[in-house]
Symmetry: C2
Subunit: 306 residues, 2 copies
């Protein structure tokens, strides 16, 4: 990484949540001149404490070479980019937007068109890997966009990601691949919860279930990552139940519009909706296990009560 030349590139990161904060820090650590933006002033202050910069978006929009948008959904992405408060109208021609939220592919295409009106390159660039990898600059990016968009984004992506899949020369395929990934991720979390609680109903301890199945053909990335949360009774939200209410909602919306019947994703979505309805929306997504436990009158392992 060339920190000397990176310092000449000014980056704005919109969204300093669990993913965005780590990404902003990774870009800062790689030597870029990074501004952090978030409605939460505490998050901005934390970033400034690390050596990051803060400013009013309007004041420094024209100096930004790359804008990374790491917000929760399509609506927030649109708010950041377009409309009265949007930044696009103040950005310079030839700059690049890297859009990382999980959004419908059609939305990504629409944002790309907006950017093109201002001569701005748009990279459809959803991310995978979680907050730990975000902070380490080791994300996976499912990207699609023009050659100019890739060229503009590449130095910053190099600081954020271990792996960048280049999936096409226009916006859409990146978001489509991310939606496919979220279908599987959501189903696998709910299936892990279903399997572990089913095991409890058959007399198998959750921790033994996680140990054994992790080494068998029934395992998944999510089973190995979220299973221990259930076995340890630790629902500290690394990624919350609400994220999958949203992302499996996107899957279901797109599938319905495409006349694609996706019954397993639809069923998993209902389990996350139920978890949220029971009051666990802000807990770790593995709290979907509480739906199964409640419906079968089972006790889940309890965490340390320090």
């Amino acid at each position: 990484m060339n920190t000397a030349s990176n310092s000449e590139t000014t980056v704005g990161v919109f969204g300093l949540g669990s993913m965005g904060f780590g990404m902003a820090a990774s870009a800062h650590n790689a030597g870029f001149s990074v501004y952090g933006f978030d409605p939460n002033v505490k998050a901005i202050q934390q970033f400034v404490d690390l050596g990051g910069k803060q400013a009013s978006p309007d004041d420094i929009a024209r100096t930004l070479d790359v804008v990374v948008v790491v917000v929760v959904n399509a609506a927030q992405t649109e708010t950041v980019l377009v409309g009265d408060a949007g930044i696009l109208k103040n950005m310079k021609s030839g700059s690049t937007v890297i859009a990382c939220a999980t959004v419908p592919p059609e939305f990504a295409k629409r944002m790309e068109a907006h950017c093109h009106e201002f001569g701005i390159h748009y990279l459809d660039a959803p991310i995978s890997g979680g907050s730990v990898k975000a902070a380490a600059g080791l994300l996976t990016v499912m990207a699609s966009g023009s050659a100019d968009a890739f060229n503009g984004a590449r130095p910053v992506l190099g600081a954020l990601a271990e792996k960048v899949f280049e999936l096409g020369d226009h916006a859409g395929p990146g978001s489509a691949m991310k939606v496919v990934n979220q279908l599987l991720a959501g189903v696998h979390i709910a299936a892990a919860a279903e399997a572990i609680t089913f095991g409890i109903s058959q007399g198998i301890e959750a921790s033994q279930c996680v140990d054994v199945i992790s080494q068998c053909a029934g395992t998944s990335w999510m089973f190995e990552n979220r299973g221990p949360h259930i076995a340890q009774g630790d629902y500290t939200p690394h990624s919350s139940v609400e994220i999958f209410v949203k992302d499996l909602g996107i899957v279901s919306d797109i599938a319905r519009q495409s006349r694609f019947a996706a019954p397993i994703a639809a069923t998993a979505l209902q389990q996350f909706v139920a978890a949220s309805g029971m009051g666990f929306g802000g807990e770790d997504d593995s709290a979907v296990a509480k739906v199964y436990a409640a419906q079968a009158n089972l006790d889940l392992p309890e965490g340390d009560t320090k």
Copy 2:
């Protein structure tokens, strides 16, 4: 492995299908004196061609130290062991049965009790790993049973398995863990099919989907194993659709009896039932993708038509 002492141990393998044949061969290769039994005389002849032995079960039952039952289901296991044609009544006291089919835990407990009537040890020992690992002696075994059952089975298990989980001192927990594994395995295969065909509906090629998702948080053991079958259009049955009609059927039966709501497993089961109903029951279980493709009027990748 001590092939000299192994030669003094006589083993009968009941069921020379895709799993049993490889297991019989592994036991033979480890130096055991192995008889193969199967209604399919071609399978027996193939085993004899490898150096295995054949005989009438009644003639050699009293010489068997270990009987390995690797049949399709509980009904076949019961036929092999009990009743007029069952082998238990002719086996010697102190010998050991290793029961490998995926069966309900209650069934395993009942078979254990039958064996005890004859002074025979019973190891509840479902297997995971597929036919390639069976042939290489590298299976995973989820085992439970008495200390005597483990002692009787251990030398033979050493030839068949890379890993033996010891899950309890009586029959039941082994089968329960296997059923939990099959819940996940079946859901993950159907989810892989759902995700890959959904991706096709969004313009993503199946092979690209498999390549990318295998490196993302949406991956699973089954996605990585079965995804390429769909991407290559190769439905040669390594494990057939009917296996998951059966195994997810066992999951659903046990869950219902336990008043455990398992909606994702139930939904996945319907997809395998539909695949079988469409005529694909004998194809590889990844042919569940054909249900999704038919319901969305999509073309799946075609295999080589040599």
